[in-house]
C-alpha cells in the first residue's frame, strides 16, 4: 500500500476508535458532563491530562523548534513540564477538595464576588478560544499535508469528530477518548524516534543516545556543534537569548501551565485530593515520555539534516550537490516546507547560519523535523500514516478539553452562576451541549480563517493565565486573609499590565520589539512573570488595608487545607 492509503487506514481506524469510545461513555448528568462523575482512576486521568495538554504544537512543532533553537529550546521543555510541579503541590489537591466544577466556581466562591467570577469566566473563555483556534488549524494542516485534502474540509471533518464526542459525552466522553488519543499519539511519536535514534546513534532509546559517540569516537553533540560553527550558526549547546529572558519566559510558561483552566479542570475528575496529587504525577510522567524524546529527536534530526546537505572531504566540510539529494528532500520541497534557491548557480546547496546569512540558499520549516522523520529514516509507509494519526490525536484531544472549558464556562458559570441560578439540571445539561456545539463551530471558523495573530497567542494565553488565575488561586488557598478587594485588584492589575505589554510590542509598535527596548530585557513571552509578581504585590497590599473575608470563607479555606 502507498503512503496515502496507509494514512487513510490509520486515521480512519483511530477515528472509529474515538467514536466507539464516545458512544460507550455517554454523559447522563451535569456531573458526568462537567467532571466525568468524579470517579476517574488517577492513572487514567493522568493519561487523559497528558493528551489534553500535548497539543498539535507539542506533537508536530516542538522538536523542530528545539532543533532550530538549540539550548534556548529548553524554555519550552522546562516551562511546559515544570508547571505540573506547581499544579500538583499548590493547586490541584485543594481545588479537588473544594469540589464543584470549574475554576471560576472557586474564584467566585472564595472571593464571595460575582465580579471576580465574571473576570475568571472571561479569562477562561478568552484563553481557551485563542488556544483552540490553533488546534483546529493543526487538524487542517495534517489533513492537507498527508491526505491532500483541502484545509477547510480537513477542519470540518475534525469539527465533526470533536462535536460528536464532546457534545455527546462531555467530560466523560472526552476523558476516555483522550486516553485512546494518548496511546495513539505516544506510539506515533516513539516509533519514528526510536528508528532515527538507531540510525544516528545505534541506540534504540532516544534519551540514551544523546551522549553517544560515533565510529570515529567523536561525541554526537560535539560533532553537531562543529557542524554548526562551520556553517555559521552558534553552537547547538549554546544559547543566544539572554539569561534573564530565558529565566522569565520559563517562569511565565510554568506559571501559565499551572493556571490554565483546561488543565486544572481535569483534576476535578478524580475521587479525592490525594488522588489529584498522584494523578498529576502520572500526568507528568506520561508527558515526560514525549518531552524527553523531543530534544533527542531534535538533535538527531538536526545532525541528520546537516550531514545530508554537507559531507566531509579530506577533513573539510563540502556542500552537497542538489542532484544528490534523497527523495524526501524533493518531496518536501513540493510542499514549500523546504525551499532551495541556488543563488550562485553552482548546483550545490549552501545552508548557512546567521553569521553568513547572505550566502544561505536553503530555508527549512521547523515542522519538517517531525513530519519528515519517517521518510528521512526510510521507514515503512504505515509509519507515515501513523504520524498523521498521532498529530490528529494530539490536536483533537486538546481541542476537546478546551471546548469543554468554554461550554462549562458559558452554561455553568455564566448562565447558572450569574444569570439564572434556578436553572434545572436537565436544562443546564442542554445548555452545556448547545454551548459546546457553538464553541465547536466558532473554533472551526477560527481554524479555517485563522486570525493573523495565532502564532503569538501562545504568549498571550500563558501570560494571561500566569498573571490572573495563578496568583488568585494560590492566594485563595495559602492566605486566609486574602479578600475580595485584594484578589480583584490584583487580577485586574496583573492582566492589564501583561496584556498591555504584549499588545504594545506585538501589535502596536512592532519595530521596537527588540531586547534593547524591553523592560529589563524581558520579551513579551516572559512578561507574564512580572504580571504575576505585580498581581501578588497589589493583592497583598490592598487586602492589608481592607476588611478581612467573612467567617464562612475563612472556614472554607481551612476546610480545603485538610484531607
Amino acid at each position: 500500500m502507498n503512503v496515502q492509503a496507509w494514512t487513510f487506514v490509520m486515521v480512519g481506524l483511530s477515528f472509529a476508535l474515538y467514536i466507539g469510545v464516545a458512544i460507550w461513555s455517554k454523559a447522563r448528568s451535569t456531573g458526568d458532563f462537567y467532571i466525568a462523575g468524579s470517579n476517574v482512576h488517577p492513572i487514567v486521568n493522568g493519561m487523559a491530562t497528558a493528551a489534553d495538554w500535548m497539543s498539535a504544537a507539542s506533537f508536530i512543532s516542538m522538536a523542530g523548534m528545539i532543533a532550530f533553537l538549540g539550548r534556548d529550546g529548553s524554555v519550552y521543555l522546562l516551562g511546559w513540564t515544570g508547571g505540573y510541579v506547581l499544579l500538583a503541590l499548590l493547586i490541584a489537591p485543594y481545588l479537588r477538595k473544594f469540589g464543584k466544577y470549574t475554576v471560576p466556581d472557586f474564584v467566585g466562591d472564595r472571593y464571595y464576588s460575582q465580579l471576580a467570577r465574571i473576570v475568571a469566566v472571561i479569562c477562561a473563555i478568552f484563553v481557551s478560544f485563542t488556544y483552540v483556534a490553533g488546534q483546529m488549524r493543526g487538524v487542517g494542516i495534517v489533513f492537507s499535508r498527508f491526505l491532500n485534502v483541502d484545509v477547510t474540509i480537513g477542519v470540518v471533518i475534525g469539527m465533526g469528530i470533536v462535536f460528536f464526542y464532546a457534545v455527546l459525552g462531555g467530560m466523560k466522553g472526552i476523558t476516555y477518548t483522550q486516553v485512546a488519543q494518548y496511546c495513539v499519539l505516544i506510539f506515533a511519536y516513539l516509533v519514528p524516534a526510536i528508528f532515527i535514534s538507531i540510525l544516528v546513534t545505534n541506540n534504540p532509546i532516544p534519551q540514551l543516545g544523546l551522549g553517544a559517540a560515533d565510529e570515529s569516537g567523536t561525541y554526537l553533540l560535539d560533532r553537531l556543534n562543529d557542524l554548526h560553527v562551520a556553517l555559521g550558526f552558534d553552537k547547538y549547546t549554546d544559547g543566544t537569548k539572554s539569561t534573564i529572558d530565558v529565566f522569565f519566559i520559563t517562569a511565565a510558561l510554568m506559571l501559565g501551565t499551572a493556571g490554565l483552566p483546561h488543565v486544572i479542570i481535569r483534576f476535578y475528575t478524580v475521587r479525592r485530593a490525594s488522588e489529584a496529587r498522584i494523578s498529576a504525577g502520572w500526568a507528568l510522567l506520561f508527558i515526560a515520555i514525549l518531552y524527553t524524546t523531543a530534544p533527542a529527536v531534535a538533535i538527531y534530526a538536526r545532525t541528520n539534516l546537516l550531514t545530508t546537505i554537507t559531507h566531509e572531504q579530506d577533513g573539510e566540510l563540502v556542500d552537497a550537490k542538489y542532484e544528490d539529494m534523497p527523495e524526501w528532500f524533493k518531496n518536501w520541497e513540493k510542499t514549500d516546507l523546504i525551499k532551495f534557491k541556488d543563488l550562485n548557480e553552482d548546483g550545490k546547496i549552501q545552508y548557512r547560519g546567521p553569521k553568513q546569512e547572505n550566502k544561505n540558499e536553503l530555508e527549512i520549516d521547523p515542522d519538517i523535523m517531525v513530519l519528515a522523520n519517517p521518510e528521512i529514516a526510510n521507514l515503512p509507509n504505515w509509519v507515515v500514516g501513523l504520524v498523521a494519526a498521532g498529530g490528529l490525536a494530539a490536536a483533537l484531544s486538546t481541542a476537546a478539553g478546551l471546548l469543554l472549558v468554554i461550554s462549562t464556562a458559558i452554561a455553568h458559570d455564566l448562565l447558572k452562576g450569574c444569570i439564572k441560578p434556578d436553572l434545572s439540571e436537565k436544562n443546564e445539561l442542554i445548555a452545556a451541549r448547545i454551548a459546546a456545539g457553538f464553541a465547536v463551530c466558532i473554533a472551526g471558523y477560527l481554524g479555517i480563517n485563522p486570525p493573523g495573530f495565532v502564532s503569538q497567542v501562545v504568549a498571550f494565553a500563558f501570560g494571561l493565565a500566569a498573571s490572573s488565575f495563578f496568583p488568585a488561586i494560590v492566594l485563595g488557598i495559602f492566605s486566609k486573609r486574602m479578600n475580595k478587594a485584594g484578589a480583584v485588584a490584583g487580577m485586574i492589575v496583573g492582566i492589564t499590565f501583561t496584556a498591555a505589554y504584549i499588545i504594545f510590542f506585538n501589535y502596536i509598535n512592532t519595530d521596537v520589539n527588540k531586547p534593547e527596548y524591553w523592560l529589563w530585557g524581558i520579551s513579551p513571552e516572559g512578561i507574564g512573570t512580572i504580571g504575576m509578581i505585580l498581581n501578588f504585590v497589589v493583592a497583598i497590599v490592598v487586602s492589608k488595608f481592607t476588611s478581612p473575608p467573612p467567617d464562612e470563607v475563612q472556614t472554607l479555606v481551612e476546610d480545603i487545607r485538610v484531607p
Partner: protein, 94 residues
C-alpha cells in the same frame, strides 16, 4: 491536642514539605538549567554537558519524581492525621 491544633500541625508540616520540594524544583530548573548552565556545561561526562543535560533531560525527570515524592509524603501525613483525629473525636465523646 485539640482539633484546631491538629489541623494547624498538619498544615505546618505540609508547608514544610512544600518549601523543601519547591526549593529542589527551583534549584534544578532555574539555577542548574538556566542561571549556572554555562558553568555546569564545563563539567562533562561522556558526550554530555551537565548544564545542557539538566536543561533538556534531567530537570524533567526530577519534576516527575518531586510530584510522586510529595504524593507519598502527603499520603503518609493524611494517614497520621486521620488516626490522630479519630483519637480526638473519641476523647471528646468521652
Amino acid at each position: 491536642m485539640t482539633t484546631y491544633e491538629k489541623k494547624r500541625a498538619y498544615w505546618r508540616k505540609n508547608l514544610q514539605y512544600l518549601a523543601i520540594l519547591l526549593g529542589i524544583w527551583f534549584v534544578t530548573s532555574y539555577l542548574c538549567s538556566i542561571v549556572f548552565v554555562e558553568q555546569l556545561d564545563k563539567i562533562r561526562f561522556g558526550g554530555y554537558r551537565l548544564g545542557f543535560y539538566f536543561a533538556q533531560q534531567a530537570s524533567i525527570w526530577i519534576f516527575v519524581e518531586l510530584i510522586f515524592v510529595y504524593a507519598w509524603l502527603m499520603n503518609r501525613l493524611d494517614k497520621k492525621y486521620r488516626a490522630d483525629m479519630d483519637g480526638v473525636e473519641e476523647s471528646e465523646e468521652e
